[in-house]
């Protein structure tokens, strides 16, 4: 029997997984958009995004648009790779149960 893969704990967190998945479908996104899509609180969202940034999975860009501060997030290549590997590990763990 082959060894079962381990799930990346940084990606496995529910909100972090949602954020990586959301960012994988867009070029970049604002904090407010991520908050609206996940319905998470500012504090929780900020903390999880920080963990993703520390892991190198998310890059942050801060700028001013019409004198208003804007924080943009985008998934990095490392983050995209981590998400892909996580999905492959999930599918391997679930095996035939994936269609049940």
């Amino acid at each position: 029997m082959p060894d079962l893969p381990a799930l990346n704990p940084v990606v496995h967190g529910r909100l972090r997984l949602a954020l990586l998945s959301l960012l994988s479908g867009v070029e970049e996104a604002e904090f407010t958009w991520l908050r609206a899509k996940t319905d998470a609180t500012d504090g929780n969202l900020g903390a999880q995004l920080l963990k993703l940034e520390e892991a190198g999975y998310v890059a942050i860009e801060k700028k001013f648009v019409l004198r208003k501060p804007q924080t943009l997030y985008r998934i990095t290549e490392t983050g995209r790779q981590a998400l892909t590997e996580y999905v492959q590990a999930l599918k391997q763990l679930l095996g035939p149960a994936i269609d049940r």
């Binding site: 079962l4 381990a6 799930l7 704990p9 496995h12 967190g13 529910r14 909100l15 972090r16 997984l17 949602a18 998945s21 959301l22 960012l23 994988s24 479908g25 867009v26 070029e27 970049e28 996104a29 604002e30 407010t32 958009w33 609206a36 899509k37 996940t38 319905d39 998470a40 929780n44 903390a47 999880q48 998400l83 999905v87 999930l90 599918k91 763990l93 679930l94 149960a97 994936i98």
Partner: protein, 200 residues
């Protein structure tokens, strides 16, 4: 970790990934209001041109619709993420808006807005093209059904009587603008409600 993780939790993670990727790529459903707006504007323009016999009916109503659409869209775009798919869909509808505006403006002011059948056929063909292209990109069957309705309107108006042509046009506007727009808005609201908050 997976020793403590149940099969159901793993499936839940997989479904979360799918729904979030789809959410990031979603564009058209948040535009349900524009379909309703343009549907109402078409009705107003038809009523104005039918009873008022004014050459200004279509140019003025189209101009107002473009201003309202661009104004509200620029407010909504403030925190909307940039995607290739979004740009593709947005480009189709922006090109449609410009085409319709110039066509109605030129036809209205030149006084050549006289053949009802040709007029309905041209509008229906343009709307069929935009809905069809958008539906094929998004793989959205409901929107493709709208494209089919517009294409049916193109053929019907060419061979039908004046009354049949107008009825087909009014029904197509109702189904593909008003009903489809409301459906899009409701679908978006339901999806948002169903998903609920995501905790860490």
């Amino acid at each position: 970790m997976q020793d403590h993780t149940t099969e159901q939790e793993l499936k839940d993670r997989l479904s979360l990934i799918e729904s979030m990727i789809a959410e990031g790529r979603r564009n058209t459903e948040s535009w349900g209001w524009t379909f309703v707006l343009w549907g109402v504007v078409y009705y107003l323009a038809i009523a104005w041109s039918a009873w008022g016999h004014s050459v200004w009916a279509w140019p003025v109503t189209m101009l107002i619709a473009v201003i309202v659409t661009v104004g509200v869209a620029s407010l909504k775009a403030d925190n909307h993420p940039e995607t290739t798919l979004g740009r593709a869909i947005g480009s189709i509808w922006m090109a449609l808006g410009i085409s319709m505006f110039l066509l109605f403006l030129a036809l209205g002011l030149s006084g050549r807005l006289t053949d009802q059948h040709l007029f309905v056929a041209v509008i229906s063909a343009i709307l069929g093209m935009a809905n069809g292209a958008s539906a094929l990109i998004l793989r959205w069957k409901v929107q493709f059904a709208c494209a089919v309705v517009w294409w049916v309107a193109v053929v019907t108006t060419c061979f039908g009587t004046d009354t049949q042509s107008m009825i087909v046009f009014l029904v197509a506007i109702f189904l593909c603008q008003i009903v489809f727009g409301i459906y899009g808005a409701i679908a978006e609201a339901q999806e948002h409600k169903r998903r609920g908050p995501i905790h860490a």
